[in-house]
């Protein structure tokens, strides 16, 4: 059965007027997972982008950049697009307040989306069971533990879920969301404004293309985190079954 790609509850103008996007902000977020999609979504004419956190206190990202929420969980309007960026505390996967917020918004949202390890939060909220989905290349096993069909692709669209790979995949994911939630013409305009015709200076962006020595070194750096995330994902999966 071909499921409808769009469940928009109210009229949209040609230019996406009225699209409400919410980007989740939490301590130790990888700031580019949030700021790159913000740049894309904030260019949708007539749209509104909310940076949603538990409170309105400034939040420190994982490498020190401080970001300012625009609305708290309680006052956040119903979102058409909810997006969860990555990194952050492993605890986010078992934080009921966050999981409840994402789950509730997802019930109404047209698109439930993530960048990088944000999909582990969606998964822990029970929102990816049986969905094809992706995450940062290093953490696909944790995503599978949460019931997703974990695939190593840059952007995965499965029904009303759109998940992106690691960090910079947020640009590709956000443009895909705009194309789906508004239209492809608007996404094309935004891409041209942002001159998104990437030319990475090296081929190191994925383990399949990077030098073996670089891959081994980065895998080694990330191994403790990968093991820790797998453990928390197992705990989150056990909580879902309970």
């Amino acid at each position: 059965m071909e499921l409808p790609r769009t469940r928009v509850g109210r009229a949209r103008s040609e230019y996406g007027a009225g699209v409400e996007v919410g980007l989740l902000l939490f301590p130790d977020v990888t700031q580019l997972d949030l700021t790159a999609p913000f740049e894309v979504f904030s260019r949708v004419p007539g749209g509104r982008v909310h940076i949603v956190a538990k409170s309105l206190e400034p939040v420190r990202s994982d490498r020190g950049l401080v970001l300012q929420p625009t609305v708290d969980f309680e006052r956040c309007p119903r979102l058409d697009v909810v997006m969860v960026p990555g990194w952050g505390q492993q605890a986010l996967m078992v934080d009921d307040e966050t999981l409840d917020f994402v789950r509730t918004q997802s019930t109404h949202a047209t698109w439930t989306t993530s960048v990088c390890t944000g999909s582990l939060v969606l998964g822990a909220a029970g929102l990816l069971r049986g969905y094809r989905a992706t995450t940062h290349w290093a953490y696909l096993d944790a995503l599978a533990v949460l019931g997703a069909i974990a695939v190593d692709e840059r952007v995965v669209v499965d029904r009303d879920r759109i998940t992106g790979g690691g960090v910079t995949a947020g640009i590709d994911a956000a443009l895909t969301v705009v194309a789906e939630a508004v239209d492809r013409r608007t996404a094309g305009h935004i891409q041209l404004h942002m001159q998104y015709a990437p030319e990475p200076p090296f081929h190191s962006g994925h383990p399949a293309t990077a030098d073996a020595e670089v891959v081994a070194s980065v895998r080694n750096q990330l191994e403790p985190l990968r093991a820790q995330r797998l453990d928390v994902a197992r705990a989150a999966a056990a909580r879902m079954r309970a």
Copy 2:
């Protein structure tokens, strides 16, 4: 004459320890021009990234995201890499306090760099005369007025100047800077951590590849700004000659 590519004034470890990077922050900055390079530079082991503004007051970017400076002009240390992001007030091109700051830092810096229309500020500071350089595709004429050899390339390295194209080119530019200022291995590590293996969903990132209708529409949207920037660039060039 082949000029030296590196003028590092003190010892660097294998991993770039001690590299001091400063990203200029000003009202109406395009936040991704700053946050994408921040994400890259903040991953250089042992490096320090400063967000430098006239004062420590929070700064509103052009689409509303609020950013927090980490140091003001006066207390900013000598930088190894100074980077100017784009957009912002046209007035920045004729703002002596900003131009003096950039000019002074550039005297000591190993690399003087920019993203998007940040190169117009470098140009207005007299730092690109006779240099090959780039900017957002829409504003190349203003860059030429400031004495640069303006070229429509994604990242341009000419001696100790590295300039990037529009907005998202900041990722490519920053990785290039890391490869030059630290080493290529470090840049490769960072690229793999950030999974920077882009797959733009459309071919709209440059006028050469976007649909003609999209190009015409975006050119039309940007025309008033292009004309205004050209005027301010002419005024800045006249000030330099005076």
